[in-house]
Amino acid sequence: MRLYVHWPFCLSRCAYCDFNSRVAARRHMEAYRLALYAELEAWACMLEENKRRLSSIYLGGGTPSTLSGAEISALLGKMTGRFVLNSAAEVTVEVNPANWSHEDFTAACAGGVNRMSIGVQSLHDPSLRLLGRAHDRDAAREAVRHALRCGARSVSADLLYGLPGMDVASLERCLDEILETGPHHLSLYALTLSGRSPLSLAVSRGEVSLPCEDEVADQYMAAVEKLRTAGYEHYEVSNFCLPGHHSRHNLAYWKREEYLGLGAGAHSLLGRCRLYNTDSILGYVNMLGKSQMAVDGWELLDAADEREEAIMLGLRTSRGVPENILDAGGDHLDDLEFRGLLARRWGRVSLTTRGMLVSNTLIAALLPA
């Protein structure tokens, strides 16, 4: 079993965010933390012992680093008090470069965190300002160095591409600078604007313009090439790592292993059931305060759903999926292979880099009708 804990609070809201996060007062955080503990307690009572053995914990957000390193340790202590942590378990916390001092990093490590994911996003100060991030280039690189020095086994950096005003050269510069600091893992996400985030409104008003599809695609291709040359394995659409530094927790999502999500809006996969908590922080806190579960809905998967998910999630990884679970005729696969969008090896089908860039279309084409 894997455990995800959602910490929905941020110190400030980023300009591109329409995700489940809030800027909130300390006392709200306190109430939320108590609700988390209550939910943890409830699940711990319901799950059988073998399901309470954890091979990874992921503290995501929001911004978990709005808590101090010591508070993170305390939170982890609560979790491991009710669940059993395997000896080689991966314990990740997402860190905003603007939040933590070296002491926080050290305290978190001492409390059991062994993987740090740093939300660098960019090393270009004007871009960081446009994104509404609270840190600058130097703070970002400093955070990565702290994480590396404090004893974490793996350090990852998140980067965005396809930013307003960005071109291939500036992305490459940004990559060079981050690689200098020596993270083990990189996540590279395309800026996706949706909903009513300030940046997407600015784009719709014509105040900010986004690079075109071809430009964004060129950036991705260039980044993949650069990271490969630097020795990073491209193991998932958006993820790259040095050998042995895969995010095992995230890989579990792609492999459809079981996971339990705690917190507002958290998702779980338990057996053949996907369930999700209410998005509302207040709703979540109130429900658990009344000793009720905050489950907002669930979905029972039949064999066809499971197969569809396996294709959809498996094709995001470099391992791909066994050819025989695809419905598509050999002709169709031949054609896509000929066009350089997928590769077939040892009875498995995986997407090429170009294929990954159009994975939505490709996956929709390869799913059973």
Binding site: Y253, G265, S268, E308
Partner: protein, 604 residues
């Protein structure tokens, strides 16, 4: 009832000039419909008609009316369809009347179709009662409209009545004028039966209900009858009239209007314009004016999902029960699979059929751009008709290609004359004549290839005249043209559904525009897709739809797979609205709008 107290009349009006509202007032004044049942525009029965505000199927209603509570009259109001596509049906409805109320909107003035139908009425020997409607509107211009009508018909402006069908003002007076001016029907009840079929509807349980006007003789229940044009023999099961619901009676005499039911289930065996006579005491000659319905506009109709083919077939069969002028034949398209080549009287007719198929039968359809029928004279001397551009034979074997022309009348305020003449010229029209009807209206007469009209002529006419110009036309035979077949190749494969027949001098330009248009309409695929236009194997235009480069979901927040699945589901739904042609996904809209929009651009 005394024949002298019968009046058979119809209302001639342009769309939206208030015909149905006026008919409603008639029904109210004559107490023909109980209050509870008085839905607005009672005569337009089909849901679609009510929604579009137009009358597709004619109806005939019998009303009892005694003006001032004295002598009682029987008024038969025969409704006429109000669109150019149905001019033959209009002419048959007129043949069932002695009088016509010519209704003109006081704020719009006379429109081309009104003129066309008014002349039809005059030619048919009807007494025309000109009426200006909507006098309650602030923008009403009664005097000018009355002058226009009097110019048109050569009547004294004082004879033009003024009404507001909406408020009811002047409507009683109009009914009285109908009684006063329209002559009672003639015809002898003692002669052998001759009854004109002017419309029919299909009843699920009783088969075809034919609307008839008895011209001579008597039609009675139990009679052994024959339809003279089709030769169909049938016994009259029921005779009756509409009031406005069906009310059966024993017989209809000369001069009367009503319906007959024979148990015949196929509308094709009882055709509009046919003459009913008795099998014993048969009339020697049928009534004049019968024509076979001749579809001039064709389009392919295909199910989006090929599994729906049988459903589409059933739906067309059922529509055909009610619509004798619809024709269809199975065809196979390489691009679209199995479907039907359907023939229509015109564009509106086509749209109505399409809407009914989608609405009443819930079918997802791909409809190709409409085309006309071509007459091909082969080198061997044989003549063939081509209803689908992709069937056009190799030009080497063809001596001549002829296309249908129409005789068109366009009516407009003089300000827009220049624009209209230009439009006629652009559309290969042959200008013939121009007449000033009054200071504010000019009439242009010209011949136009029907092919130019079926695409978007009407839209252009309206947009270049701010809606003031109107069009009427009648078919005027075939005429040779310098025509070529233009093929469209997508990803190297010809897509038959995009083939068209165009004038040679414009083929290059047309090919360039349609390929550009298709490049915009077809979404980027996983690979580069060339779009080419070719005449007889020679490529005249080429565009490339560049491959899609980026379409990826970045993050999966905290294992939220549900959201990802929803997005994927959306993508799959989108795929359903696409038609796979070879390896290329083409959206349904592309099949009709590619050819249509191309013309609009050419027009500018």
């Amino acid at each position: 009832m005394e024949r002298n107290n019968i009046r058979n009349f119809c209302i001639i009006a342009h769309i939206d000039h208030g015909k149905s509202t006026l008919a409603d007032r008639f029904l109210e004044i004559t107490h023909s419909v109980p209050w509870q049942k008085m839905a607005d525009q009672y005569l337009d029965r089909m849901e679609l008609e009510r929604e579009r505000g137009i009358t597709i199927k004619a109806q005939a209603v019998r009303m009892q009316y005694s003006p001032g509570g004295e002598e009682e009259y029987r008024l038969n109001l025969i409704d006429t369809p109000g669109h150019v596509d149905f001019s033959y049906e209009v002419s048959r409805s007129l043949a069932a009347c002695e009088g016509a109320v010519l209704l003109v909107d006081a704020s719009q003035g006379v429109e081309a179709q009104t003129v066309g139908n008014a002349y039809l009425a005059v030619e048919a020997g009807l007494t025309v009662i000109p009426v200006v409607n909507k006098i309650d509107l602030p923008s009403a211009d009664y005097e000018d409209t009355a002058m226009e009508i009097s110019d048109l018909l050569g009547v004294d402006p004082a004879e033009v009545l003024a009404v507001s069908a909406k408020t009811g003002e002047g409507v009683e007076r109009l009914l009285q004028e109908v009684i006063r001016r329209v002559p009672p029907p003639g015809g002898e009840s003692g002669l052998p039966l001759r009854a004109l079929v002017f419309d029919s509807i299909y009843d699920l349980y009783r088969g075809v209900v034919a609307f008839v006007r008895v011209i001579e003789g008597v039609v009675a229940r139990g009679m052994r009858a024959r339809f003279m044009a089709t030769g169909t023999a049938a016994d009259i099961d029921e005779v009756g009239y509409f009031s406005p619901d069906m009310i059966s009676c024993d017989r209809l005499e000369a001069g009367e209007v009503g319906y007959i039911i024979t148990g015949i289930k196929e509308v094709t065996r009882i055709k509009v314009g046919d003459t009913v006579t008795g099998r014993e005491d048969a009339a020697a000659e049928p009534l004049p004016g019968y024509l076979e319905p001749k579809p001039m506009v064709f389009a392919g109709i295909y199910p989006v999902d090929s599994d729906d083919f049988t459903d589409l077939n059933d739906a067309l069969d059922r529509l055909k029960l009610n619509d004798a002028s619809l024709t269809f034949a199975k065809e196979t398209s390489k691009a679209l699979g199995f479907g039907f080549r359907c023939g229509f009287l015109g564009l509106l007719h086509m749209e109505i059929v399409q809407e009914r198929l989608e609405r009443e039968y819930g079918l997802g359809l791909v409809i190709t751009a409409p085309n006309v029928v071509y007459e091909i004279e082969e080198r061997g001397g044989d003549t063939a008709y081509v209803r689908n551009p992709s069937d056009m034979p190799d030009m080497g074997t063809v001596a001549e290609v002829r296309e249908p022309y129409v005789q068109a009348t366009i009516l407009m305020p003089p300000d827009y004359m220049g624009g209209m003449l230009e439009l006629v010229k652009e559309r290969r029209g042959i200008f013939q004549d121009m007449v000033y009807l009054s200071g504010r209206r000019v009439e242009i007469r010209c011949r136009l290839p029907l092919a130019e009209i079926v695409v978007d002529f009407y839209d252009q006419l309206k947009s270049r005249s701010r809606g003031y110009a109107s069009l009427d036309y009648e078919h005027a035979g075939f005429q040779p043209g310098n025509l070529v077949k233009l093929d469209i190749l997508i990803n190297g494969e010809p897509v038959d559904a995009f083939s068209s027949v165009v004038d040679r001098s414009r083929a290059y330009d047309y090919g360039r525009r349609i390929t550009q248009r298709l490049r915009e309409l077809i979404p980027r695929q996983l690979f580069d897709v060339p779009v080419q236009a070719a005449i007889g194997g020679r490529v005249v235009a080429r565009e490339t739809i560049k491959a899609k480069r980026k379409d990826v979901l970045a993050k999966c927040y905290g294992g939220d797979v549900t959201r990802k699945k929803k997005l994927l589901q959306k993508q799959k739904e989108g795929k359903k609205r696409m038609k796979m042609v070879g390896k290329v996904e083409i959206p349904q809209e592309a099949f009709i709008s590619a050819l249509r929009v191309t013309r609009e651009e050419t027009g500018k």
